[in-house]
Protein backbone atom coordinates (compact mmCIF):
# COMPACT_ATOMS: atom_id res chain seq x y z
CA UNK A 1 0.00 0.00 0.00
CA UNK A 2 2.81 2.41 0.91
CA UNK A 3 4.41 1.99 -2.55
CA UNK A 4 1.15 3.09 -4.17
CA UNK A 5 1.59 6.50 -2.51
CA UNK A 6 4.38 7.19 -4.97
CA UNK A 7 3.10 5.68 -8.22
CA UNK A 8 -0.13 4.41 -9.72
CA UNK A 9 -0.93 0.84 -10.57
CA UNK A 10 -1.30 0.03 -14.28
CA UNK A 11 -3.53 -0.84 -16.03
CA UNK A 12 -6.02 1.25 -14.04
CA UNK A 13 -9.01 -0.75 -15.34
CA UNK A 14 -7.75 -3.96 -13.71
CA UNK A 15 -8.87 -2.73 -10.27
CA UNK A 16 -12.36 -1.97 -11.55
CA UNK A 17 -12.60 -5.35 -13.31
CA UNK A 18 -11.58 -7.15 -10.10
CA UNK A 19 -14.04 -5.14 -8.01
CA UNK A 20 -16.85 -5.77 -10.51
CA UNK A 21 -16.21 -9.52 -10.84
CA UNK A 22 -15.77 -9.81 -7.06
CA UNK A 23 -19.08 -8.04 -6.43
CA UNK A 24 -20.90 -10.29 -8.88
CA UNK A 25 -19.48 -13.42 -7.22
CA UNK A 26 -20.24 -12.17 -3.71
CA UNK A 27 -23.81 -11.32 -4.71
CA UNK A 28 -24.29 -14.74 -6.29
CA UNK A 29 -23.14 -16.33 -3.04
CA UNK A 30 -25.39 -14.32 -0.70
CA UNK A 31 -28.65 -16.27 -1.17
CA UNK A 32 -26.78 -19.52 -0.61
CA UNK A 33 -25.23 -18.63 2.75
CA UNK A 34 -27.43 -21.04 4.66
CA UNK A 35 -28.91 -23.69 2.32
CA UNK A 36 -31.16 -24.99 5.13
CA UNK A 37 -32.18 -21.57 6.39
CA UNK A 38 -35.42 -19.68 6.03
CA UNK A 39 -33.96 -17.39 3.37
CA UNK A 40 -32.51 -20.12 1.16
CA UNK A 41 -33.50 -19.52 -2.44
CA UNK A 42 -35.94 -21.75 -4.26
CA UNK A 43 -35.06 -23.06 -7.71
CA UNK A 44 -35.65 -21.89 -10.37
CA UNK A 45 -37.20 -18.56 -9.23
CA UNK A 46 -34.59 -17.77 -6.58
CA UNK A 47 -31.65 -18.92 -8.68
CA UNK A 48 -32.76 -16.71 -11.57
CA UNK A 49 -33.24 -13.87 -9.08
CA UNK A 50 -29.74 -14.39 -7.66
CA UNK A 51 -28.24 -14.39 -11.16
CA UNK A 52 -30.03 -11.15 -12.04
CA UNK A 53 -29.08 -9.58 -8.71
CA UNK A 54 -25.41 -10.41 -9.33
CA UNK A 55 -25.34 -9.15 -12.91
CA UNK A 56 -27.23 -6.01 -11.85
CA UNK A 57 -24.75 -5.32 -9.04
CA UNK A 58 -21.83 -5.81 -11.44
CA UNK A 59 -23.34 -3.42 -14.00
CA UNK A 60 -24.04 -0.85 -11.28
CA UNK A 61 -20.45 -0.93 -10.05
CA UNK A 62 -19.00 -0.86 -13.56
CA UNK A 63 -21.34 2.00 -14.52
CA UNK A 64 -20.48 3.99 -11.39
CA UNK A 65 -16.71 3.79 -11.99
CA UNK A 66 -16.62 7.27 -13.53
CA UNK A 67 -18.67 8.99 -10.83
CA UNK A 68 -17.07 11.16 -8.17
CA UNK A 69 -18.44 9.02 -5.35
CA UNK A 70 -16.86 5.78 -6.62
CA UNK A 71 -13.88 6.42 -4.33
CA UNK A 72 -16.25 5.89 -1.39
CA UNK A 73 -16.99 2.37 -2.66
CA UNK A 74 -13.27 1.62 -2.92
CA UNK A 75 -12.58 3.02 0.55
CA UNK A 76 -15.45 0.85 1.84
CA UNK A 77 -13.94 -2.23 0.19
CA UNK A 78 -10.49 -1.54 1.65
CA UNK A 79 -11.95 -1.06 5.13
CA UNK A 80 -14.06 -4.20 4.76
CA UNK A 81 -10.92 -6.09 3.72
CA UNK A 82 -9.03 -4.77 6.77
CA UNK A 83 -11.91 -5.73 9.06
CA UNK A 84 -12.02 -9.25 7.62
CA UNK A 85 -8.26 -9.68 7.88
CA UNK A 86 -8.32 -8.48 11.49
CA UNK A 87 -11.16 -10.88 12.29
CA UNK A 88 -9.53 -13.95 10.75
CA UNK A 89 -6.21 -13.16 12.47
CA UNK A 90 -7.80 -14.61 15.64
CA UNK A 91 -7.57 -18.02 13.97
CA UNK A 92 -3.94 -18.25 15.16
CA UNK A 93 -5.05 -17.91 18.79
CA UNK A 94 -7.79 -20.47 18.16
CA UNK A 95 -5.10 -22.92 17.08
CA UNK A 96 -3.08 -22.16 20.23
CA UNK A 97 -6.22 -22.74 22.35
CA UNK A 98 -6.81 -26.01 20.50
CA UNK A 99 -3.24 -27.04 21.24
CA UNK A 100 -3.42 -26.14 24.94
CA UNK A 101 -6.87 -27.60 25.61
CA UNK A 102 -6.59 -30.77 23.51
CA UNK A 103 -2.82 -31.24 23.74
CA UNK A 104 -2.68 -31.85 20.02
CA UNK A 105 -0.29 -30.24 17.60
CA UNK A 106 -1.73 -28.51 14.57
CA UNK A 107 -2.56 -31.13 11.98
CA UNK A 108 0.24 -32.11 9.67
CA UNK A 109 -2.15 -31.55 6.75
CA UNK A 110 -2.49 -27.87 7.69
CA UNK A 111 1.25 -27.50 8.08
CA UNK A 112 1.90 -29.15 4.73
CA UNK A 113 -0.75 -26.96 3.13
CA UNK A 114 0.94 -23.86 4.55
CA UNK A 115 4.33 -24.90 3.20
CA UNK A 116 2.73 -25.70 -0.15
CA UNK A 117 1.02 -22.29 -0.10
CA UNK A 118 4.31 -20.47 0.51
CA UNK A 119 6.04 -22.46 -2.21
CA UNK A 120 3.18 -21.66 -4.57
CA UNK A 121 3.55 -17.93 -3.83
CA UNK A 122 7.29 -18.13 -4.50
CA UNK A 123 6.71 -20.09 -7.70
CA UNK A 124 4.09 -17.63 -8.98
CA UNK A 125 6.31 -14.66 -8.15
CA UNK A 126 9.24 -16.19 -10.03
CA UNK A 127 7.07 -17.09 -13.03
CA UNK A 128 5.66 -13.55 -13.08
CA UNK A 129 9.10 -12.00 -12.78
CA UNK A 130 10.52 -14.12 -15.61
CA UNK A 131 7.38 -13.57 -17.68
CA UNK A 132 7.73 -9.80 -17.37
CA UNK A 133 11.47 -9.98 -18.16
CA UNK A 134 10.73 -12.17 -21.21
CA UNK A 135 8.04 -9.87 -22.59
CA UNK A 136 10.15 -6.79 -21.88
CA UNK A 137 13.26 -8.12 -23.64
CA UNK A 138 11.90 -10.37 -26.39
CA UNK A 139 8.15 -9.80 -26.44
CA UNK A 140 8.30 -6.60 -28.48
CA UNK A 141 6.19 -4.73 -25.95
CA UNK A 142 6.40 -1.02 -26.66
CA UNK A 143 6.35 0.19 -23.06
CA UNK A 144 8.80 2.28 -21.11
CA UNK A 145 10.89 0.93 -18.25
CA UNK A 146 8.86 2.94 -15.72
CA UNK A 147 5.61 1.41 -17.00
CA UNK A 148 7.20 -2.03 -16.97
CA UNK A 149 8.09 -1.66 -13.31
CA UNK A 150 4.57 -0.43 -12.52
CA UNK A 151 3.03 -3.29 -14.49
CA UNK A 152 5.23 -5.81 -12.70
CA UNK A 153 4.38 -4.27 -9.36
CA UNK A 154 0.65 -4.42 -10.14
CA UNK A 155 0.80 -8.08 -11.22
CA UNK A 156 2.92 -9.00 -8.19
CA UNK A 157 0.53 -7.18 -5.83
CA UNK A 158 -2.48 -8.97 -7.33
CA UNK A 159 -0.85 -12.40 -7.09
CA UNK A 160 0.44 -11.89 -3.55
CA UNK A 161 -2.90 -10.49 -2.44
CA UNK A 162 -4.99 -13.31 -3.99
CA UNK A 163 -2.74 -16.11 -2.68
CA UNK A 164 -2.23 -14.46 0.73
CA UNK A 165 -5.94 -13.79 1.29
CA UNK A 166 -6.84 -17.30 0.08
CA UNK A 167 -4.58 -18.92 2.68
CA UNK A 168 -5.87 -16.62 5.42
CA UNK A 169 -9.54 -17.21 4.64
CA UNK A 170 -9.19 -20.93 3.90
CA UNK A 171 -10.31 -22.00 7.39
CA UNK A 172 -13.61 -20.19 6.81
CA UNK A 173 -14.49 -22.26 3.77
CA UNK A 174 -16.96 -24.50 5.59
CA UNK A 175 -19.06 -21.52 6.70
CA UNK A 176 -18.82 -19.46 3.55
CA UNK A 177 -20.17 -20.26 0.10
CA UNK A 178 -17.12 -20.36 -2.24
CA UNK A 179 -18.60 -17.55 -4.33
CA UNK A 180 -18.44 -15.19 -1.34
CA UNK A 181 -14.93 -16.29 -0.37
CA UNK A 182 -13.37 -15.94 -3.81
CA UNK A 183 -15.52 -12.93 -4.68
CA UNK A 184 -14.40 -11.25 -1.45
CA UNK A 185 -10.77 -11.97 -2.26
CA UNK A 186 -11.12 -10.40 -5.73
CA UNK A 187 -13.02 -7.46 -4.23
CA UNK A 188 -10.31 -6.74 -1.65
CA UNK A 189 -7.51 -7.20 -4.22
CA UNK A 190 -9.28 -4.80 -6.58
CA UNK A 191 -9.62 -2.25 -3.79
CA UNK A 192 -5.93 -2.56 -2.95
CA UNK A 193 -4.76 -1.75 -6.49
CA UNK A 194 -7.26 1.05 -7.10
CA UNK A 195 -5.49 4.39 -7.60
CA UNK A 196 -6.74 6.85 -5.01
CA UNK A 197 -5.55 10.39 -4.40
CA UNK A 198 -2.64 10.69 -1.98
CA UNK A 199 -4.63 12.41 0.80
CA UNK A 200 -7.28 9.72 0.60
CA UNK A 201 -4.61 6.98 0.56
CA UNK A 202 -3.13 8.41 3.77
CA UNK A 203 -6.55 8.60 5.44
CA UNK A 204 -7.37 5.04 4.36
CA UNK A 205 -3.99 3.87 5.65
CA UNK A 206 -4.81 5.13 9.15
CA UNK A 207 -8.46 4.03 9.05
CA UNK A 208 -7.64 0.54 7.83
CA UNK A 209 -5.41 -0.05 10.86
CA UNK A 210 -8.19 1.08 13.18
CA UNK A 211 -10.71 -1.16 11.42
CA UNK A 212 -8.26 -4.10 11.46
CA UNK A 213 -7.97 -3.74 15.24
CA UNK A 214 -11.74 -3.50 15.55
CA UNK A 215 -12.18 -6.69 13.50
CA UNK A 216 -9.58 -8.46 15.64
CA UNK A 217 -11.21 -7.52 18.95
CA UNK A 218 -14.74 -8.33 17.78
CA UNK A 219 -13.53 -11.79 16.68
CA UNK A 220 -11.63 -12.13 19.99
CA UNK A 221 -14.82 -11.33 21.91
CA UNK A 222 -16.78 -13.91 19.87
CA UNK A 223 -14.08 -16.51 20.47
CA UNK A 224 -13.80 -15.87 24.21
CA UNK A 225 -17.58 -15.91 24.69
CA UNK A 226 -17.80 -19.20 22.72
CA UNK A 227 -15.12 -20.77 24.94
CA UNK A 228 -16.79 -19.38 28.07
CA UNK A 229 -20.21 -20.79 27.07
CA UNK A 230 -18.65 -24.12 26.20
CA UNK A 231 -16.90 -24.36 29.60
CA UNK A 232 -20.11 -23.46 31.43
CA UNK A 233 -22.05 -26.16 29.56
CA UNK A 234 -19.34 -28.71 30.33
CA UNK A 235 -19.40 -27.78 34.05
CA UNK A 236 -23.21 -28.18 34.16
CA UNK A 237 -23.00 -31.57 32.50
CA UNK A 238 -20.27 -32.65 34.94
CA UNK A 239 -22.38 -31.48 37.92
CA UNK A 240 -25.43 -33.38 36.59
CA UNK A 241 -23.38 -36.57 36.19
CA UNK A 242 -21.90 -36.16 39.71
CA UNK A 243 -25.41 -35.81 41.22
Amino acid sequence: MVVSWFFDYVPAWLAIVLVTVGSVLVTWGLPFVDPDGEFAVEAPKGVLGALMLGIGTGLTIWGARGTASFDTVVVGIILLGSFMQGAVAINFYRKVYDFVSNGSLPSSGGFKRKIAGHLLILFLLLVTLWGVIYFTVWGGLDIEMRDTVRLYWTVATVIISVVGLSTRFWFMQSGFPPQIMFGGILLITGGEIFNLQLELELTVFVLSHIVYTLGFWIAAYLFISSVHNSNRTARRQYARISD
Binding site: M52, G56, T60, G63, T67, G76, R94, F171, G175, F176
Partner: protein
Amino acid sequence: MPIGELLNSVPILGGNIGLLQPVFQIYPPLVLLGTYLAATGAYLIAADDLGNFVGLWLVMTVIYPLVLVWQINNMDMTREIILGYSLADSTIALPLVLMFLVTYILVQSLQDRFQEVA
Protein backbone atom coordinates in the same frame (compact mmCIF):
# COMPACT_ATOMS: atom_id res chain seq x y z
CA MET B 1 -18.03 -0.26 -36.23
CA PRO B 2 -16.02 0.32 -33.03
CA ILE B 3 -17.51 -1.25 -29.90
CA GLY B 4 -17.90 2.13 -28.16
CA GLU B 5 -19.88 3.51 -31.10
CA LEU B 6 -21.98 0.36 -31.28
CA LEU B 7 -22.82 0.57 -27.58
CA ASN B 8 -23.65 4.25 -27.83
CA SER B 9 -26.13 3.51 -30.62
CA VAL B 10 -28.21 1.50 -28.12
CA PRO B 11 -30.56 4.14 -26.67
CA ILE B 12 -30.17 3.43 -22.96
CA LEU B 13 -26.39 2.84 -23.07
CA GLY B 14 -25.70 5.87 -25.20
CA GLY B 15 -27.86 8.04 -23.00
CA ASN B 16 -29.47 9.53 -26.11
CA ILE B 17 -33.13 9.44 -25.15
CA GLY B 18 -34.40 13.02 -24.97
CA LEU B 19 -36.71 12.58 -21.98
CA LEU B 20 -34.08 10.72 -19.98
CA GLN B 21 -31.19 13.07 -20.81
CA PRO B 22 -31.35 14.91 -17.44
CA VAL B 23 -31.59 11.57 -15.64
CA PHE B 24 -28.48 10.25 -17.37
CA GLN B 25 -26.57 13.37 -16.37
CA ILE B 26 -27.11 12.39 -12.73
CA TYR B 27 -27.16 8.59 -12.97
CA PRO B 28 -25.07 6.86 -15.69
CA PRO B 29 -27.23 4.57 -17.90
CA LEU B 30 -25.38 1.44 -16.80
CA VAL B 31 -26.03 2.27 -13.15
CA LEU B 32 -29.76 2.60 -13.86
CA LEU B 33 -29.82 -0.63 -15.85
CA GLY B 34 -27.80 -2.45 -13.20
CA THR B 35 -29.95 -1.19 -10.34
CA TYR B 36 -33.08 -2.17 -12.27
CA LEU B 37 -31.77 -5.70 -12.87
CA ALA B 38 -30.58 -6.02 -9.27
CA ALA B 39 -33.96 -4.89 -7.93
CA THR B 40 -35.78 -7.31 -10.26
CA GLY B 41 -33.52 -10.12 -9.01
CA ALA B 42 -34.11 -9.14 -5.39
CA TYR B 43 -37.90 -9.12 -5.96
CA LEU B 44 -37.68 -12.56 -7.58
CA ILE B 45 -35.85 -13.91 -4.53
CA ALA B 46 -38.07 -12.21 -1.98
CA ALA B 47 -41.52 -12.50 -3.57
CA ASP B 48 -43.77 -15.21 -2.15
CA ASP B 49 -45.82 -15.69 -5.29
CA LEU B 50 -46.13 -14.44 -8.86
CA GLY B 51 -48.74 -11.79 -8.01
CA ASN B 52 -46.48 -10.34 -5.33
CA PHE B 53 -43.52 -10.19 -7.76
CA VAL B 54 -45.53 -8.67 -10.63
CA GLY B 55 -46.93 -5.99 -8.32
CA LEU B 56 -43.50 -4.88 -7.11
CA TRP B 57 -42.00 -5.13 -10.58
CA LEU B 58 -44.78 -3.03 -12.15
CA VAL B 59 -44.32 -0.29 -9.54
CA MET B 60 -40.59 -0.23 -10.28
CA THR B 61 -41.04 -0.37 -14.06
CA VAL B 62 -44.02 1.91 -14.63
CA ILE B 63 -44.30 4.30 -11.69
CA TYR B 64 -40.75 4.73 -10.37
CA PRO B 65 -39.17 6.01 -13.67
CA LEU B 66 -41.76 8.81 -13.80
CA VAL B 67 -41.05 9.66 -10.16
CA LEU B 68 -37.33 9.67 -10.94
CA VAL B 69 -37.73 12.02 -13.93
CA TRP B 70 -39.94 14.34 -11.85
CA GLN B 71 -37.47 14.24 -8.99
CA ILE B 72 -34.49 15.09 -11.18
CA ASN B 73 -36.33 17.92 -12.95
CA ASN B 74 -37.68 19.46 -9.76
CA MET B 75 -35.10 18.82 -7.08
CA ASP B 76 -31.49 19.86 -6.63
CA MET B 77 -29.88 16.44 -6.82
CA THR B 78 -26.40 17.77 -6.09
CA ARG B 79 -27.33 19.52 -2.82
CA GLU B 80 -25.48 18.07 0.15
CA ILE B 81 -27.63 15.94 2.42
CA ILE B 82 -25.16 14.33 4.78
CA LEU B 83 -21.32 14.22 5.07
CA GLY B 84 -20.86 15.87 1.69
CA TYR B 85 -23.04 13.33 -0.11
CA SER B 86 -26.01 14.31 -2.24
CA LEU B 87 -28.86 12.37 -3.86
CA ALA B 88 -26.71 12.10 -7.00
CA ASP B 89 -24.21 10.07 -4.98
CA SER B 90 -26.80 7.38 -4.26
CA THR B 91 -25.18 5.32 -7.05
CA ILE B 92 -22.91 3.94 -4.36
CA ALA B 93 -25.77 2.73 -2.16
CA LEU B 94 -26.03 -0.74 -3.70
CA PRO B 95 -22.31 -1.63 -3.38
CA LEU B 96 -22.24 -0.28 0.18
CA VAL B 97 -25.29 -2.33 1.20
CA LEU B 98 -23.54 -5.36 -0.31
CA MET B 99 -20.47 -4.69 1.83
CA PHE B 100 -22.50 -4.38 5.04
CA LEU B 101 -24.15 -7.72 4.23
CA VAL B 102 -20.76 -9.36 3.69
CA THR B 103 -19.48 -8.00 7.01
CA TYR B 104 -22.57 -9.28 8.82
CA ILE B 105 -22.23 -12.74 7.24
CA LEU B 106 -18.54 -12.86 8.13
CA VAL B 107 -19.21 -12.08 11.80
CA GLN B 108 -22.04 -14.65 11.95
CA SER B 109 -19.88 -17.23 10.22
CA LEU B 110 -16.98 -16.60 12.60
CA GLN B 111 -19.29 -17.02 15.59
CA ASP B 112 -20.58 -20.35 14.22
CA ARG B 113 -17.05 -21.50 13.51
CA PHE B 114 -15.83 -20.69 17.04
CA GLN B 115 -18.83 -22.40 18.59
CA GLU B 116 -18.04 -25.54 16.58
CA VAL B 117 -14.47 -25.49 17.86
CA ALA B 118 -15.28 -24.63 21.47
